[in-house]
């Protein structure tokens, strides 16, 4: 197949948009394509994205502190710089700042929307249905979404940054998480991600759990590479070490939830408030906790169940089906 030039728009706070787009970029690069990825994640400057994505990828990191006019100007310059074979937009058909509504008609390449759930108030108020119609393909990555039944929509299994064979074996993962080979206690990992202040809050949660578990389990506070701080362990992508985690504590973001489900890692998570994402709808009753007391009780219960965890040997990574669907759209242009 001819080498294609993909452009991936992955603007949005936190790590979620960047991680999902990175999964797509990594799979596209593995198929021989050239990928340009645009992000304004506050975590992007510290992450070794280029080495994870491969030599076919170029990452453009916008400063997360840019105001709206500066961000729009940067997106405009990026989009109009050189032609591409396909433009892929994560989550926001109108763009994070609404800028794509005016810019998309100037893009000659086929357009693909990565379509996940969106706040219905936003969908109604900003006529997102009209914006969605400007796309040649909607790829729905494993969760239902407002326009999942659009005639040009295709569904895939959830997208993951790593395939199952790229995860570390359990013992290796436990070593990476700071446990010696002789350590036998189960491990609870508290994932610090989302907003920068939530990364810090995860540290408080880890401390509280450490006290309440009173030595019955090891507790680690994980933060993304580049967000290192005292008491935290920088691990990215955390998916790589989940085989060594007995209970994962985090929030209801797309990647945390999908990674836990795919790897069979017991999850205790709370629904964080987000402008567009509805984490309460993503989490099941058995995954969701409502307060600190609930969290401690749930972690205790999960640890008691975790004696001989049955983990799936592998999982379907929907990103590969997505790459094939996008390739077809790019070829048809």
């Amino acid at each position: 197949m001819r080498r294609q030039h993909w452009r991936l728009y992955a603007l949005g706070g936190g790590l979620g948009h960047l991680t999902r787009a990175s999964a797509l970029a990594r799979a596209a690069v593995a198929r021989g394509h050239a990928v340009e990825l645009l992000t304004n994640s506050p975590f992007a400057p510290g992450l070794p994205l280029e080495s994870l994505l491969g030599p076919g990828a170029v990452v453009h990191r916008l400063d997360a502190r840019l105001d709206k006019p500066a961000t729009v100007a940067a997106v405009t310059a990026w989009l109009t710089a050189t032609p591409c074979d396909v433009l892929v937009v994560d989550t926001f058909p109108r763009g994070l700042a609404g800028e794509l509504a005016a810019l998309l008609p100037t893009v000659r390449a086929p357009r693909v929307l990565v379509h996940r759930d969106l706040n219905p108030v936003y969908v109604e108020r900003f006529d997102v249905a009209r914006a969605v119609d400007a796309f040649d393909l909607l790829v729905v990555p494993g969760e239902d979404a407002p326009f999942a039944h659009h005639p040009r929509a295709v569904r895939t299994a959830p997208w993951l940054l790593l395939d199952a064979d790229a995860l570390q074996p359990r013992e290796e993962a436990r070593r990476r998480l700071g446990l010696s080979a002789s350590a036998s206690r189960p491990l609870v990992a508290v994932l610090g991600c989302g907003r920068p202040e939530e990364v810090v809050e995860a540290g408080d949660t880890a401390s509280q759990l450490r006290r309440s578990l009173d030595g019955r389990a090891e507790v680690r506070w994980l933060v993304p590479t580049g967000a290192e701080t005292a008491g935290a362990l920088a691990v990215w992508p955390a998916l790589a070490v989940l085989p060594g985690v007995d209970v994962l504590v985090g929030s209801g973001g797309y990647n945390t939830v999908q990674e836990a489900r795919a790897t069979g890692t017991p999850l205790a998570a709370w629904a964080r408030s987000r402008l567009y994402d509805r984490q309460a709808l993503r989490l099941t009753g058995s995954e969701r906790v409502v307060d600190a007391v609930d969290l401690e009780a749930r972690v205790q219960a999960l640890l008691e169940e975790a004696g001989a965890p049955e983990r799936p040997a592998s999982y379907v990574n929907g990103v590969h089906a997505a790459v094939e669907a996008i390739e077809r759209v790019a070829l048809s242009a």
């Binding site: 109108r94 108030v121 239902d144 408030s273 987000r274 402008l275 309460a280 307060d291």
Partner: protein, 129 residues
């Protein structure tokens, strides 16, 4: 006998998860079963070939129209195929009678996650996603 609808430019389905209200988007097509005008958001495809409104799709999902329960257990076109118990989108979510409570129903604890639904920060707060 199929109901008939007067020529309408607007979708005649209702919208809203918590508070139902008329959709009022521009109609994109007509339901092939009841002829109701519907917008793209309220259009569903049955078996990849029949375009129907949400109401008729729910009726079909109840099992009364060419539905094979055993085969539908493995229907990859079902949005809940990958998650049998995925929140309110889960399999059977449309067919549950209103009187019972699902374990994934909204609780007070969900209020924090949804409190910003009326937020005016859409497309302004670039870190709020």
């Amino acid at each position: 006998m199929r109901p008939s609808f007067p020529s309408a430019e607007h979708c005649l389905e209702t919208s809203g998860f918590l508070f139902s209200h008329p959709c009022e988007r521009a109609a994109a097509t007509q339901c092939m079963r009841c002829q109701k005008p519907v917008c793209a958001l309220h259009m569903r495809m049955l078996d990849g070939e029949e375009t129907v409104c949400v109401s008729c799709a729910r009726t079909a999902d109840n099992g009364d129209e060419n539905r094979d329960a055993s085969s539908s257990d493995y229907d990859e076109d079902d949005p809940s195929y990958y998650y049998d118990d995925y929140g309110y989108y889960g399999r059977g979510a449309w067919t549950t009678a209103g009187g019972s409570h699902d374990k994934n129903d909204f609780t007070e604890a969900d209020g924090e996650s949804l409190r910003r639904e009326d937020d005016a920060s859409f497309e302004e707060d670039l870190g709020g996603s």
